[in-house]
């Protein structure tokens, strides 16, 4: 069943379809919260809130883009609201911090020695500027296309492409350094 069919079932009060949608998008949205610097408990609250809202408003809900863009966009809006209210939210979540610690004590040449190119690329992603990193991760890891990313972040597809282009150039420059 695709999103359109699931959503029409949700509109017809089908809780089973609602549960399926939740389980399908929870891992993605929870990872997306992590990109936005939100810890997993707050992330769960935000995602649950978005879905609660979806259920409560199901009959009068009009989604102009895709359900996927709608959900990501709704999560993003709530995260931004929360961040605006509470500066503490900007702290990186613990699991993220520990990832960083592992790669931080390795110099590029050591990583090359260990042939751990994967870890190295993860580190390069970490080095990107905030907005560039978010856009790159949405494209690279979540396989959202340029149009979807543009809708979710309310920016133009052109800007999305420019960010991806800059990130790739940055990685290539860093890769050259360790080749």
């Amino acid at each position: 069943m695709d999103d359109i069919e699931l959503l029409s079932r949700v509109k017809a009060d089908d809780r089973e379809a609602f549960n399926s949608l939740f389980l399908k998008y929870y891992p993605l949205l929870s990872d997306f919260c992590r990109f936005l610097g939100i810890n997993s408990d707050d992330g769960e609250d935000i995602i649950a809130d978005v879905f609660l809202d979806l259920w409560v408003k199901r009959e009068r809900l009009h989604i102009h883009t895709s359900l996927k863009s709608y959900l990501y966009g709704a999560v993003k809006n709530r995260v931004y609201t929360l961040k605006g209210k509470n500066q503490k939210m900007q702290l990186l979540p613990e699991e993220y911090a520990s990832d960083k610690a592992i790669s931080d004590h390795l110099r590029p040449d050591e990583m090359l020695f260990r042939k751990d190119r994967r870890l190295m690329i993860e580190r390069f992603v970490d080095e990107l500027p905030e907005q560039g990193k978010l856009i790159f991760l949405m494209n690279w890891q979540h396989q959202l296309d340029y149009q979807e990313i543009a809708e979710i972040l309310s920016i133009s597809p052109h800007t999305v492409k420019t960010h991806i282009y800059r990130s790739v150039n940055y990685f290539r420059k860093r890769l050259l350094f360790v080749k």
Binding site: M1, R15, E16, N19, S20, F22, L23, K24, Y26, P27, L28, S30, D31, S40, D41, E44, D45, I47, A48, D49, F51, L52, W55, V56, R117, R118, I121, E122, N139, W140, Q141, H142, Q143, D145, K161, T162, I164, Y165, V168, N169, F171, R172, K173, L175, L176
Partner: protein, 349 residues
């Protein structure tokens, strides 16, 4: 490193994600083989894309979160129901919405979630319509054959294998179907991609030398790249596409339909072409099949304890009895001939 324009980067990314058209793919394949800047960029981007990790999927966490959400919705709807009947306590609805983290976690097992997962049906067949009219080449057990294809590609076919050549070979693609093992030395032709079909795996060539092992009764399909570049697709699913670099092999397990990429030593994989019988950490069942294909007689395992061990070693074209003697000494097994069969027994350490 020269900077390339945005269009070319996005084209390469589109290719790696399987989002570009056939026409764009042909353009890209040609560019990769003719333009050094482009092929450098392709290599870098392919490396970045292959470093991608899967999105973490902690299903017990998701189920817990769903259980808490469902509790919230149930409370909310119960509250709304009561209110409709005129006995509502004011403020119940809004207080539930505001209370974001419920104290009680409900066991996830309490929920029965049918249809929670999507199984993408793999397209079962990717054969072109004209499979009926094809040239076919076979080898018997113990036999090897070198085949020259009309485009200048040479294929060395290992024992007990068959290679079918599509009738449309050379029209706009060069497609072959392999059961067994073969080493391909593909003639470059950027206009006409060379594709080896082996069950659910399709290997498309961007470069030149590679080995494919896909015996029907083996548990794995292995694609090993010696030189150049190959693209391996599973089930026609572009998100599972793997681009191999030289010295890397993709091992696809038919049991769990998972693939992984590993390093290999060229002689271990292509030794058979030089008449070397190579066991490369093969399980005993796979080793027995290899022996039987190599020497053309049935090889049977008597003890199930043999399943616990793997075999590593290279034998220069020597008679079966000598190979078995050497294996016996190293691997602590015994063997005997029964009629035309070889029976291997032992406990193996």
């Amino acid at each position: 490193m020269a900077y390339m324009d945005e269009h070319h980067y996005l084209l390469i990314i589109g290719y790696l994600e399987g989002r570009i058209t056939e026409e764009e793919t042909q353009y890209l394949l040609q560019k990769v083989q003719t333009d050094k800047e482009f092929s450098d960029a392709f290599e870098d981007i392919a490396e970045i894309w292959s470093a991608k990790k899967a999105v973490p999927n902690n299903s017990s966490k998701a189920n817990d979160a769903l259980a808490r959400l469902n509790k919230k919705i149930d409370d909310l709807e119960a509250g709304a129901h009561v209110r409709k009947n005129g006995a509502a306590k004011t403020g119940q609805q809004s207080s539930i919405i505001l209370k974001l983290r419920p104290i009680l976690a409900i066991a996830a097992s309490a929920l029965i979630l049918a249809g929670a997962f999507w199984l993408y049906k793999a397209r079962l067949s990717n054969k072109p319509a004209d499979t009926l009219a094809m040239a076919e080449k076979h080898t018997a057990s113990g036999e090897k054959k070198k085949i020259d294809l009309p485009d200048g590609t040479s294929v060395t076919l290992n024992a007990s294998s068959s290679l079918r050549i599509a009738n449309s070979f050379g029209d706009d693609k060069r497609e072959v179907y392999l059961d067994g093992e073969a080493f391909f030395d593909v003639k470059r032709d950027p206009q006409k991609p060379f594709i080896v079909h082996t069950g659910k795996i399709a290997t498309q060539v961007l470069g030149t030398h590679f080995n494919v092992s896909a015996y029907q009764n083996d548990s794995n399909i292995t694609v090993s790249l010696v030189q150049g570049k190959v693209q391996v697709d599973m089930n026609n699913d572009p998100s599972k596409r793997i681009i191999l670099d030289p010295g890397k092999q993709m091992i696809y397990s038919k049991n769990n339909h998972q693939a992984h990429v590993a390093d290999f030593i060229t002689d271990d994989i292509t030794g058979w072409k030089e008449n070397k019988l190579v066991f490369n950490y093969d399980s005993w069942p796979d080793a027995a099949k290899k022996l039987s294909r190599w020497y053309g007689i049935p090889v049977l395992l008597k003890d199930s304890t043999l399943l616990r061990c793997k075999l590593k070693g290279t034998f220069d074209n020597i008679p079966l009895a000598k190979v078995m003697e050497q294996i016996r000494m190293v691997a602590d097994v015994s063997w005997q001939m029964q009629g035309t069969k070889v029976i291997i027994s032992g406990k193996c350490n």
